[in-house]
Every structure is written in C-alpha cells, then in structure tokens.
Amino acid sequence: MSTTLTAEHILALAPDSGSAQAGHGLAQLRKWERLGQSEYAVWGECQGSGKDLYRVQIDLREPAFRCSCPSRKFPCKHGIGLLLLLAAQPASFATNEPPPWVTEWLNKREQASTKRAEPPSDSTAATSKRTTTRAKSSASREANVSAGIAELERWMNDLIRQGLATAQSRTASNWESVAARLIDAQTPGLARMIRQLAGIPASGAGWQARLLRNMALIHLLVEGYKHRDRLAPDLLAELRTQIGWAQDQEQIRSNPGIHDTWVVLGQRMLEEEQLRVQRTWLWGIETERQAVILAFAAPGQSLDRSLVPGTLIDAELTFFRGTFPLRALVKERETPPQTMEAMPGYGSIRAAIAHYAAGLALNPWLETFPCPLQQVIPQHTPHGWSITDQEGVSLPIATADIQGWRMLGVSGGHPISLFGEWDGEQLHPLSAWAEGQFVRLGERQKRIAHSA
C-alpha cells in the first residue's frame, strides 16, 4: 500500500519548520536500508549522525509514526523523511513480511484500539466501589457548583443594581477574585466567561452594550442551572458543558458514531493561558454534519497532527452531547487520508448566516461557527479585508495581513471557496480552494524551542 498524501501534506505533519526541512533532506534513498512495506505499514532503517541505525516505521492508516531515535519531536524528521520517500518512490519499498520490531508495534496498536472501543469492564466490586466514589465526589461537586452559582447570581445582581458604569472602576484583581472563586466552585467555564467580561469595560466604544450582552448569556446559564430539573437532557448536557463539566470521553467513544467521508476543512491554533488549543474542522460529505476535533498541548508538548487540512478521511466520529453538537472524537479511522477534490460549503452568505442563526437558537452560547462558503470574492478595502458573494452580500474578514494577501492572490479577483470561523462579527479565514488547489490561510505553528 502506498500513500495518497502529497509531499505538502506530509510536510504539514511536521511539528516545526526545522523538522520539515530535515525530513526533506532525509527523503533520499541513499540514507535508508532495508525498506519495506506491507498492507498498511512501511518501515526502514535510517543512518543517524553517528554510527546508529534508527528503526523507523509508519502505520499508514492514520498515519502514526514510531522511531527509535532520541528526538522528542513527534513525528521526528526520520518519520517525515520515510513518508516523503514513500510518496516519491514507492517502488523502492519491496512488499515483504514485516520484521519483528514492526509486527510487535502494530500488534500493540491493535490491542490498544480494541481496548479503547470496548466500554470499560471489570469486576463488580471494583465497579461498585468506583461508582460510590464517583457518586460522592459528584455530589460534593454539585454542592460546590450550586453555592458558586448562587454567589455569582448575587454578584451580577449587585452590578446591575449599582449600574454598569461602576464596572470601569473595578480593578483587575477585583475581577480575578470573582473568577478565582468560580474556579474553587468547580465551574471553570463560568470563570473563563468572567475573565472575558473583565476586558470589556476597557474595550472602547459600545462597551456597555457588550458587557450587558455577555452578562445576559451568563445569566441564562445561572437561570438554566436553577431550573435544571426541568431541562431536556441535551439542553442540560449543554448547560453543564458551558459551566465547566467535562464529559466522559471514554463513554463518548464507546457510543455508536457517525460514519462518513469527512473533509478536513481547516485548522486553527490558539494560545490560551499556558495551553495551546487546536481546532480541526470536519465536514461530512454525505451527512453534511459539521464537527470540530479539539487537541491540547502544554508548553513543550507537540499538538496532534494526524488530521491534515485539505484531505478526506473515512472515519467514524462520536459527538459530545449538547443542543447543537459540534465537538467530536475520531472513534475509528477507516482508510488512509485522500486528497480533497472540491470544497463543500454554503452557496451564499445569507444561507450561512441562516444556519448560524439556527445554531444560535439551539445553543445561545455558541462562540465559533464553521463557515465554508462557495463562490466568494475577497477584497482589500481601506477598512480592511472582506468577501463578497454572488448576491453582492459582504462579510468582514479578520486576518493577519499576509494571509489576507494570500487570499487575494489565490483568487485574482475571481470567485473562490473559502472556509473560516464565524464569531458573529467577523470571519476568521482558515483555508481556501482556488483553481483546483487547497490553500492554507491560518498561521503556521511557530517553531517550538526544542533541542533536537
């Protein structure tokens, strides 16, 4: 089996530009020995800088990499090099029985994935003990949350009573102490919203209306929580997620999922307080379902790169519960990634906004809406960037200048397909499809400071 990934896709898997470059340099036959391939794996041995021969292998279904070199980067340059070599010169990989060090790894992976698919099962005693512990800690959390929310309600009422004008004179530590108490009350979602509120009084003209709006959305959560016994299950799930309960990923993964061919539309990486968050957006071709896969990395860690924008994957996705479910997990990947051949999307901006409104109606706390648009023309105006659709309707674009120029450049004044995140005010472009090519518009991940 070979790979249908192009060299550009493969290089996009690299954790930083240095690895990509080094990988490119290693994609030469003379660096490798005992290359081979089987149904869905490739392997080879690569000359390191000393006398060492590194053993490199790839499970093509994801692709997943493994290398015996000491680098902590993932995938390392040897993995990138091997995959590039496979893409360029598949004939050099003889179809063989994999050597023991390959079969060992592949078997381990099989076991791990079957284990993940099954719901956890163990002895009744252990299960009941776990259930009791869980019940105790969840009861205590409920108590904390109730108390925290009651206090938040009082705090918000005070602010409304005294007037929002007083918000401008509150200090940063004043806001932070409210947020800190919400963390203590085990409601991190609410704490994040308070931290967002803190920045509004200084945000310029119209801050009063913005502050009121954001407080109103928090108020909905407070009210919802007070009446949680009466809420439909999906709404309750959404409420709890917004407040800060994490959903049980094991549970979600074990649910039946949605099979489809998913287009990996685009990817956005954000830095958030000591953590990097990566959102990868998927669009199901048959089901027209949209999904977002979240990945996190602490400083020094690499983000998961297994989903490459501009590719198609056959996969089963399971969704987190909510009123407008977007967040999902990849339960099972069924084939290696293929290259995209067209970009799906809304035929007009009005259609996209109508879908956004429908989403908001289900989830008023919706912050980021996936917005692929077909046949739009990017423009550069004195006020900034915008796109216009075939009906003459325009949307404002928020982007770094260089990406805006790229967007304009690939369109040449002609209509293109564009995918971005809509936040209710601006579209943040992440990818485009123009003249039969997929173009990434988000910023590349910056170089991680590793010692290679």
Binding site: A7, S17, N157, A209, H219, A357, L360, G392, G409, H414
Partner: protein, 524 residues
C-alpha cells in the same frame, strides 16, 4: 422599535436599578412575545438580565450581513508563464521559511531562465522578501507572473513589482503617462527596466519632471543612470553638478567618474597635470662609477580648494581620513582618483610596471596607491586591476574588477603555489569575493587545498576557514556534489573538527542540486 428599547435597557443597566426605575421593555413580534414572559416579581435585576438575554439572542441571530454591493474588484490578467512544479515550490517555501535563504537569488534566476513563475499561494512571502532586500527585487519581478504584478500593484510595499516586462515596449506617450501618475518605487522599477534596452528614453523620462521633483526622488532617479551608463548621459549629469541637493550632486560626480571622457575628468586632468611630474630613469654611466637613478614621480600638493573643484566633487573638509593625511594631500587624492592611471602611462610614455615601481618609492605612496585603486574600480579597468593584484594580492577590493575567467586563473595560480596554511594565503579572502559559479577545475583545486590544510593543521579550529565554507557552498557547481562528498581526510580528530562544516556544505549542495533539478526537469 426594538433598537430604542434596547438602548433604553442598556441605559438602565448602566445607571443601575438603584437610580432608575425599571419597566420591562416591550417590543413587537416574537421578541415582544418572549419579553412578556418575564416575571418582574423576581426582582428588577433579574428582569433586566432576562430581557437582555432575549434581546441578545434576537439580535445575534437576526443580524444580517451588509447587502452593500462592493465595487467590482479588478480581475487579474491571465498568466503567460507556467507555474513551477510542486517540488520546486517546496524549495521556495523552505527558503522563504528561513533555511538556505542565501540561495534564494540563485533559485529565482534558475526559475526565470526556465521561463517559469512562482506558485500563486507563495506570492506574499516572496514579495515581502523583495521589499526587505532590495537586491532581490529585479529577480522577484521577473518571476511573480501576471498574478504577481496584479497583486503587487494593490500594496504600497510591493509597488516595486507592479510593472511587468511589457511596459518597456510601450510608446513614449504611454510611458510619460505612467511616469506622471506613479509613485517612486514604480518609477524606479520602470527606469531600471528601460535602461536595459532603451536607456535614452529612461533619461528623457527623468528629464520631463526633473525641475518639480523632490530632492530624494531626484537622487533616486539619477542613481538609476548607473545602469547602462554611457557618454550619452554625460550632458545631463554635468548639469546635475549644479543641483540644489548635495545628495544629487554627489551621485552626479560618482557617475561622471566612471566616464573617462567626461568634461569632469578632463577638468581634473587639467588641474592635476601641473602637480605631478615624471623624471625618467637615468641609466648608470661611466661603467658603473656613476650610479643609475630609477624613475621618480614628483608630487606637488595643491595650494587651495577652489569653487570649481568643489563643484567637481572635491570635499574641502573631508571627513574620511586616509591615514593621517593632511588637508592638501586629501584634495590631491580626491582629484587623482578621478583619473585612470593609464592616462599617466600614456602621458609619460612609461609602462604600468615602471609607474607602479616609481609610486612605490614615493613619499606620497599612500596617496598615489589609494587614488589609483579607486580609479581602477571606477573604470573597471581589469588589466590594471590584475597588475596591482599580482604585486599585492591582498587588495581584495580590486578583485571584483577582473572578469571571471581572469579571477579563476588568478586563484588557480595562488592555490597552485600555496606554501603555508590556506588561512594565511590571500587566496582565501579572494575566494570569498567571487560571485560566479566556479568551474570544476577551481572547485577541485580549492578542495585539494582545503584537504591539505586539514591534514597539516589538524589541531587548529579555524573559524576563518569554517566560515568560508558558507561561501564555498554557494559557489561550487551542484553537479559536483558526489565528488565533493568524498576525499575528506578520515583521520580523527581532524574529521571530527570539521564534520559539522562538511555536513552543512553537503546539505547546501544537495539542496542546490535538488532545486535545480526540480526546475529544469519539469520545464515546459
């Protein structure tokens, strides 16, 4: 109207329910219906927040994007050149991303020669590179294609690339129109292009608006006459000597120096001739009893620096010091450097060797040598440059004057006669001055010398040579990469000292080899 109701609600919230009496807002339609559900008995603050929540949901979901019909965007013209292959695009991306950035100009030239253009998605980074490094601009201009010119014309920072090559075949009328409306970067680019095959048109364009241009614009345009400079430009440059701006006058002088037949140089000859005299050699007589005398140069320093000298570029109070020379010596130096040394040979019926010998023995040796080195550079007199280098190979500034074949011959000579360590030879510095692709012969000679040096000086960490490897990596023809990879001394610890530098050299050569192959193999 719901927006009034909303404004009212915000005002109430801003002032506070303590100060303002609350009435639950009303509205029509679905919003009004929802608002009526608010139970005001729960408290004024709750009522406000609940109402705000409904307004928010209503506004967010109901907001329609602007229906304004934006002005129709311009369409990019169709591409005349083919885009380079995906593999070549990867090389470009690597270079723009920071690795092997010095190779970028070589890559751009290869692409232009192959008649290809860059992929559209990489245009912003490439145009930015041209903005940041002026020497890349002509190369960037050549390969951005029709789409690139279109894109560049919309960004002030990239205007240098806005014009395409067809501009230079335009009629005079069109050219003057473009000239009148364009900004400086566009006009500079236009001049550069025109000077290649219609130099007089370029000069005439400059002349059309000369009187009304700002000083730094005048300076920029005048500087463009350096391309394709000829005696036809002399009259214009002569008038520029009287310009109001010192910068413009300096440029005019710099350019006139390169034209030995210009009036400026003739005036200098008139001034300097009375100051220098040649006393021919006297042979020995009376069977050696009366010793011979070698030829000498008699030097008189100028008495004053008058207005005509200043007009011709002499600085009465020079800031640049040439080794503690006095004021009058500096005036002589400034004048002498405008006159090609060949003039003195012709005037005094002597040979270059004799002239240089005489200068060597003169008390004003430093003035004479500095002046002539400067003159040779200005006139690109390669015969003289070589003569001086033969006697003193450390005058690296003259090396670029030699044509590449002579450079190679000179270097081969030095490398062949190498006695001491390579790092103490003038060859190393001169090798780093080369800008052309080396021949196989030169490459092999350099490698032999480097190998020898490594073996005989293995304990030294030679930073000078290590750094020189960076230059070698860009000059060695990539086809020789396999030859270069072998033959390095294998003994430790020599090999260990040098391994890093060798690896980097080979990586660069492989990269240049791959990038050339990616372009040439997939040429249309």
């Amino acid at each position: 109207m719901s927006s009034e109701a909303w404004e009212d609600l915000v005002t109430t919230a801003v002032l506070g329910t303590e100060r303002r009496r609350v009435a639950v807002p009303t509205s029509e339609g679905g919003l009004g219906l929802a608002l009526r559900h608010i139970d005001s008995s729960l408290g004024a603050e709750q009522a406000i927040l609940s109402a705000a929540a409904m307004f928010t949901a209503f506004q967010q979901a109901g907001r329609l994007p602007e229906g304004r019909v934006a002005s129709a965007p311009s369409l990019a013209p169709s591409e005349l050149r083919q885009q380079c292959s995906a593999r070549a695009a990867q090389h470009l991306q690597a270079m723009l991303g920071g690795s092997q950035r010095d190779i970028l100009s070589e890559w751009l030239m290869l692409l232009d020669n192959a008649g290809l253009c860059v992929p559209v998605s990489r245009l912003p980074e490439l145009l930015e590179a041209g903005r940041a490094q002026a020497h890349l601009r002509p190369l960037v201009r050549a390969v951005v294609g029709a789409r690139g010119h279109w894109l560049a014309s919309q960004n002030r920072d990239w205007e240098y690339a806005a014009l395409d090559q067809t501009e230079r075949s335009q009629s005079w009328e069109t050219l003057t129109q473009i000239w009148e409306i364009s900004s400086r970067p566009v006009r500079v680019a236009l001049l550069e292009t025109l000077r290649m095959d219609r130099p007089e048109q370029a000069r005439n364009l400059i002349a059309t608006t000369w009187a009304t241009e700002k000083a730094d614009d005048r300076a920029a345009f005048l500087g463009m006459l350096a391309h394709g400079l000829s005696m036809a430009d002399e009259p214009f440059l002569e008038t520029a000597l009287d310009d109001r701006s010192k910068e413009v006058r300096t440029i005019a002088v710099d350019l006139l120096l390169r034209l030995p037949e210009s009036r400026l140089v003739q005036r200098m000859i008139t001034r300097v001739s009375p100051l220098l005299g040649w006393v021919a050699a006297a042979p020995s007589r009376l069977l050696g009893l009366q010793k011979g005398r070698p030829s000498t140069i008699e030097v008189t320093l100028p008495e004053q620096c008058d207005k005509t000298m200043v007009r011709d570029g002499v600085d009465a109070k020079p800031v640049m010091q040439h080794q503690k020379l006095g004021e009058r010596a500096q005036w002589l130096l400034q004048m002498l450097r405008t006159i090609p040394p060949q003039h003195w040979c012709t005037e005094w019926h002597t040979t270059p060797t004799e002239l240089l010998d005489a200068a060597n023995r003169n008390e004003w040796k430093s003035v004479l040598e500095a002046a002539w080195i400067s003159a040779i550079q200005n006139n690109s007199d390669s015969a003289w440059a070589e003569a001086l280098l033969q006697s003193d190979p450390t005058i690296t500034s003259l090396f670029p004057v030699l044509p590449t074949e002579r450079q190679e011959a000179f270097l081969l000579g030095l490398l062949h006669d190498l006695h001491g360590p390579l790092t103490q030879s003038a060859a190393l510095a001169l090798l780093q001055q080369t800008t052309h692709l080396w021949s196989a012969e030169l490459t092999r000679a350099v490698l032999r010398a480097v190998h020898k040096h490594m073996i005989s000086h293995q304990n030294q960490r030679d930073y000078q040579l290590l750094n020189a490897f960076d230059t070698f990596a860009r000059r060695i023809p990539p086809v020789l990469v396999h030859e270069v990879a072998s033959g390095w001394p294998a003994e430790q610890p020599t090999r260990e000292h040098w391994q890093g530098a060798i690896d980097r050299l080979l990586i660069t050569l492989h990269f240049r080899h791959d990038m050339a192959e990616a372009i040439i193999k997939e040429q249309p």
